[in-house]
Structure formats: structure tokens, C-alpha cells
Subunit: 440 residues, 2 copies
């Protein structure tokens, strides 16, 4: 039997503890599967004295992550500290420069420094595995890196943030406001005290940039992703979506267009019948469109100790049995440049919700402004809300009436110009709500 | 750069042709991803003269599969001939005994001879990859073999046969008979002229036996799978299922029980809200329940040239870049014995549909017989079909009335005994329909 794979684990929070436990409890299976033992030989964490009940007897403590990464006793550095920069960055760099393999669950760091780290791994021969960084136990990194090696991919998109999907699911199912659902998510531990990283779409953007690199052979770059969060979504949008056969999801989408790879995160109308629309609550899902074949969708837990540990341990096992794929699937030198696609050139269908000041004539004005921009309307719904009628049954002239439009594919530019014209016409009150439609 | 990986491909049908085309069209990407070129150097097929337009200039023709497998010019033998025995078996055995790697899409052969072939691969150091054998492009073999290495799995189940799911979907959505949907499936090329291999569940059983081996570390064995097909399912069952919040799917289920791993294929009631219930038409899906985490579901095309080729080429690419996992995830010597679980000991909920000869008293008789076997009833529905009423509005005494029961978890034995007693009581006409319920 080959010598054991010796691990150094930096970070003993929820995930770190779950990894240590899984490696201990599943030692026999891991040994059978990998042809060698996997042993935790050294660890480091913020507090050495915190009670953890992890059976770390005989395991040495490093004074910090960098010292652990440089420990000649370890073969594989497991980074579970988080944070997009130091101290994780220097520690991972040192481990890779030493020719060690690295396993990390740190999406923020990979989205920001992944390219540099992948180059180090390539140069010195270690593995750099990060399955847990996107969709936790859902094996989407491995699927894109190894499972679809020969397949030309047109689009990869998904629900990558459980907090947002939980909020949108509750809003839809119970008709609650965004604020009420966010408060509940915070109470249940699904959202942070400062929720902006999740609800503004940045978490999704980091994960998307990693998937886009793997799918399209482009340089990982969070700054190439256009991002919009879900704070503007109202129960009225979700009700209208349901009536029109859609659901609203915060999607990360990377798609091949005539002008390059477009990467974007935004609330999206998806057809109710699509696989992605069925994904409710904190669950994550990724759909991959390969050329010439029906889509593949992977669904599962996108967070949580055991689910994240599952991916981390699988990555460690790959190191143990010598499975090596290039971190982003291709040599860093062959990854193509990435640039942010201007959203004004985005093409697709749109959902538009306006508050018409006065129904008579307004619909005609809107239709004219859209027609001027060559935008075709697939459906239009006008609704008289409660209190919108006079005693004689006539619509109350002064009450704004919601008008909801679904357009056929057009450019975002055209939509913006048409809506600016409608606003100049002073026939609507407030700002129009615009949500992009993603067809399956 | 490393020398090219030289392939010999046996079988140039739909899948073989798609593989040759994909390797040619994606040569640059494959080379970048694998760090070496992948070249088809020799082929064999039933007809050498058939027009294929495959650009096989310069590729040598072997006289048969065995000759190709023994060709010293090839590094990797790609078996796309099909058939559970010869000539594929001898050819794969020869290639593995020569230390070559083998990629195969042949579920029948792997379910029957997989163990022996895996032992050969282990002994001589070649890879033996068969992602395409289950769920085509859905990366379920890789997910179980590598993606969930550390995860303790409780259950793996799925829709593994597109023909059956197509038939059940049409029956449900259009209220058509099994026979009408089968005829349509045959017309559309989704079902064979002799459909028994699909509709009787044998195709699903072969695939399930492969997944069960990977998930639970047991010996692959088709004969350990209990199998029932879908021919007994009627539109009445699908209607009743819908009303009770279920759908009927042909599932392959492998699950850990007190007495061992139970492997079974049968029509199954699944909750409408489950991921697996959303899978319609020819699409396949597999759900994996890992201990301590929510389920992971993989959905996608389970057949077709490009989808199958996608998996075959990914397997070839893994060979090219030196990715080697044991064929069934563990050494053959460590795979545990498999035995067929007696279905009479199966425990779960049941759907039972009976035709009561005479409603008065019948429901009470049935309830009594179930109670005698300690079976608790979750719900009971009695329905008066059209024509079941006399002119005065009273139920027609002589008309059989369907009675539908959903039981709480019980043993299959108990259900059988209760229904035998009900039949002895002569209160029902015909044979009771019994469908197992699988909870998510």
C-alpha cells in the first residue's frame, strides 16, 4: 500500500469540523477507494482552545495558515478559512509553490485569485481542487472539468445562492414582502446579519465566474459579471409571473453570444415547466446546455457543513488517488481573455411592469413606444386593482393601473429607449420594473 | 507534449459515429484539456463498405473487435458494439489483459461481466470507464465513483429508461392507454419493435445494478435486482395518483435496509413535489441520498448519439490525462456480496386499487382485513363511475366501484395477506392493483 496522504487543515469552523469527522468516520472506505490512508496530521484555526470534540489527539497545531502550508510533513493543504485575500492567499500560494496539492472551498478567493493559483499548481504539479466552492456537494465543478470534456457548451446557468432562492420561494408561496422574508431568513440562519453579499448577487457572481471559466475556457474574473440583486422584486411581480407561466429566480447565467461570453446575475423569469423553476427553498441547481443535446441539470444542497464537507473530502480523495485535472480544465495560458459584456446589448425577452396613470390611451402609448423600437409584444395584461373603480363601475381616472407586458426577444437597449420615451410621455407613475426572461 | 492517446473504436453505429465526429471537431479543446492529442487510429464495424462520411482516411480497419483489442498500435479500446456477451466480452478482456484502457457504453455487459472485467483492469493497470452505460451524458457514474467518495449513501434511485418515462408521461398527460402510448413511442423511435427489454424493466435493472455497486461497494449483479415492468399500469392509476398528490414513475431503487442493500425496479408512486416527479418524457434522472445532507438529483438525456458520445469522449479524455479511479470505486476484492432482497420483506407505503363489487359493506370488509394485518390506512377514496347510479340516484348495486387506498408504511407480506383475504371474501372483482410508494 502507498504511504498515507497527509493533510493539513486550516480552519475548523462548521465545514472544517465536518471534514475532520468525515475523514475519521469513513477512514476504511476512503482507504479502500483511494488505495491509501488519508490522515489529518496538522491543523490550524483562530482559537486553539475552543472546545471542539474532534479527536485531534496526536495532530499538531500550526501557529498560522502559512506555517501549516509550509509544513514539510503535509502533502495536501486544505483551506477552509474563507476570505478573498490574506491570510488564505499566501498560504495557498506557499503550499502550491511547495508542490503540495490544495483543496479549497473558498469561492471568493478563487473568483479573485484563481488564475494565479492555477498557474502555480500547473507549474509545480500539485492539484488545486475546489468542488465545494460552487454548489457544495453538487458535483458541478467535476462535471464541467471532467464529465463534459468533449462537449461544446452553449450556456450554463443556475440558482447558486440559497438565501435568495429561499426568499423568492417564500415571497411567491406566501405573498409576503421581500423584507419580511429576509427577516425570516435571518432568523433561521439562512441569511447573514449583513445580507447584501447574498441579496445583491455578489455571491452568485463569484460562483458563476468559476463555472464560466470551466465551461468556456475563459479566465475566471468576477469583475466580468454584470450583477443585479433581488431587492427590487415585489410580490406583484411574482403574482404576475405565476399568471403568465413563469417563476422569478435569481440566476447566474454564462452564455455564448455573437460577441463573446456574456456573464450576468439578475432576477430572471424562467418558464414554470423548466427544471430550474422547480428548485425551491435553499436548494441550488445548475443547468448545462451542451450543443446538440438536451440540457443536464444538477440539483442539491448548496451549503451546509455535511454537504460542503462531502465535496471537500471528494477533492481530497482525488488528490489521494492521483486524479489530476487542470484547475480550470485547460492550461492557464490557453484560457481566453474575459471582458464584461455590456448589458445594453443583451438580447432576450423581457417582462415589464408599469403603473399606468390613466388607462385610457396609456396602453396605446406604450404599444407605440415599443413599436418604435421594433419590440414585439407577446402578451399584455392590464389589471384594475381594488379601489380602481368609481361607484358607477367606471375605472377611477386617477388610480394607477398595473400594465404587464411580455416582449419577444429584443435588445436591452431598445427596451431602455422605449421605456425612457414612455416616461417622457408622463403616462406612467414611478419607475418601470424590468425583468429579463431566460428561455429553457 | 506527451504522445497522443491512440484509440481503437469497435462499433460505428449512431454512438460510434458521434464519438468519431466529436473527437475530430473538438480536437483542439481535447488536446488543451488533456495535455496531449487524442487520435482514432483503428476501427472495426459490422460493415466496412457502408457509407459513413466520417473522415476515416488513414485510419486502419481491424478484421474484428478482438483483433482491434490486440492491436499493439492502440492504447485505448472503445467498445460501442453492445451485446451482453461475445464478441464484446472477449475483446474487452483482451484489451484489459494487454494493459490497455477500455471505454464502454455497454450496460448489459457491465451488469453481467463487470466484476471480472474490473478485476482485469485492476490487475493490469488500465482504466475501465463506462459513464455512458447509465444515463448517457448525465455524469452519474463519475459522481458516485469520485464526486461522493467520502459520503455515506443511504439510497440511490432514478428514472433510468426513457421509453418507460415517455409512455407514463403521455398516459398521464393525455389519459391514453398503455398500448396507445407504446405504439406512439415505437412510431417515434423511442421504443424498439420488441419493447419488452424496456417496458419489463430489464434495461433499468442493468443500470441500477451498476449504480448500486458504485454507491454501496457491492458486487454488480443484475440478478440481485427484483424487477416489475409498467405493463399493468392503467390510466385509472395515473388519475388516482394525481388526485392523491403522486405521480407514477418506473424507478430503479437501491436502498440500505436492516437486512442489506435492496435493489428493485417497479412502477412507483412518487410525491408530485419531488425532483424526480418533475422528470417528464424521455429524460432520465438519478437522486442520491447522502447521510446527513439533502438529496442530490442529476437530470438529463439518458440516450441519443450526441449525449452518449459526450460521456464516451469524457471517459476517453480521463484516460488521456491519466485520471484513474477503480471501475466500481473500490478494489474488486473489497466489494461486498450481493443477494436478491425478498420483496415480501419490503417495507413502505402502498397504493392499492380494488374494484368493489358492491359498495355497501365492502369498504368495511377491506378495512377489517387490512387492520388484521396491522396495516394503517392513510387515505381511502371511493368513486362512483359514470353509469354507476340507478335512475333514482341510488348507487347501482351491481356496478363495481373503484376503491383506492394509500397505506402507511407496512410490509409487503402484510399487504399480500390482507389482499388474499379480501379476495377470499369475494367482495371485489378482478385482481387488486398494488403500487409501491417511494418517499422523498
Amino acid at each position: 500500500m502507498v504511504a498515507p496522504l497527509k493533510l493539513g487543515i486550516a480552519g475548523l469552523g462548521t465545514v472544517g469540523a465536518a471534514v475532520v469527522t468525515m475523514i475519521e468516520q469513513r477512514a476504511d472506505v476512503l482507504s479502500a477507494r483511494c488505495g491509501r490512508d488519508i490522515k489529518v496530521v496538522a491543523v490550524t484555526a483562530r482559537s486553539k482552545t475552543k472546545r471542539r470534540d474532534l479527536g485531534l489527539d496526536g495532530v499538531s497545531w500550526a501557529k498560522d495558515a502559512l506555517a501549516l502550508a509550509n509544513d514539510p510533513e503535509i502533502d495536501c493543504f486544505v483551506e477552509l478559512m474563507g476570505g478573498s485575500d490574506e491570510p488564505a492567499l499566501s498560504a495557498i500560494s506557499a503550499a502550491l509553490a511547495n508542490g503540495k496539492s490544495v483543496v479549497s472551498a473558498n469561492k471568493a478567493l478563487i473568483a479573485k485569485h484563481g488564475l494565479k493559483l492555477a498557474a502555480l499548481a500547473e507549474k509545480h504539479g500539485g492539484a488545486f481542487n475546489f468542488e465545494a466552492a460552487v454548489g457544495a456537494a453538487i458535483p458541478v465543478v467535476k462535471t464541467l472539468r471532467e464529465g463534459l470534456t468533449g462537449t461544446d457548451i452553449d450556456r450554463v446557468y443556475g440558482i447558486l445562492n440559497g438565501t435568495c432562492n429561499y426568499i423568492l420561494t417564500r415571497m411567491e408561496q406566501e405573498g409576503l414582502s421581500f423584507e419580511a422574508c429576509l427577516a425570516d431568513a435571518q432568523r433561521l440562519g439562512y441569511a447573514e446579519a449583513d445580507p447584501s453579499f447574498d441579496i445583491d448577487g455578489h455571491d452568485t457572481a463569484q460562483k458563476l465566474s468559476i463555472l464560466a471559466s470551466l465551461a468556456f475556457g475563459i479566465k475566471v474574473s468576477q469583475s466580468a459579471v454584470s450583477v443585479e440583486g433581488i431587492t427590487s422584486i415585489s410580490p406583484a411581480d411574482l403574482r404576475a409571473a405565476a399568471e403568465l407561466g413563469f417563476r422569478v429566480k435569481l440566476l447566474g447565467v454564462a452564455v455564448r453570444t455573437k460577441t463573446g461570453i456574456e456573464q450576468r446575475v439578475h432576477p430572471t423569469m424562467v418558464p414554470k415547466s423548466s427544471s430550474i423553476a422547480q428548485v425551491m427553498g435553499v436548494t441550488n441547481a445548475v443547468t448545462i446546455d451542451g450543443v446538440g443535446m438536451p440540457p443536464i441539470t444538477l440539483v442539491g444542497p448548496g451549503a451546509g457543513g455535511p454537504a460542503t464537507a462531502s465535496a471537500v473530502v471528494a477533492d481530497i480523495a482525488d488528490v489521494a488517488r492521483g486524479i489530476r485535472a487542470l484547475p480550470f480544465g485547460r492550461p492557464v495560458a490557453k484560457l481566453e481573455a474575459t471582458k464584461k459584456a455590456p448589458m445594453e446589448h443583451h438580447e432576450g425577452g423581457y417582462y415589464i411592469r408599469l403603473m399606468a396613470r390613466d388607462l385610457a390611451g396609456t396602453a396605446a402609448t406604450i404599444a407605440t413606444r415599443l413599436a418604435e423600437q421594433q419590440i414585439s409584444i407577446e402578451s399584455i395584461v392590464q389589471r384594475h386593482p381594488d379601489g380602481a373603480f368609481e361607484a358607477d363601475g367606471q375605472p377611477r381616472k386617477s388610480s394607477p393601473v398595473p400594465v404587464i407586458l411580455i416582449t419577444y426577444a429584443t435588445s436591452e437597449d431598445a427596451v431602455r429607449r422605449a421605456l425612457q420615451a414612455v416616461q417622457r410621455d408622463k403616462v406612467i407613475s414611478g419607475k418601470p420594473q424590468v425583468i429579463r426572461i431566460e428561455k429553457n
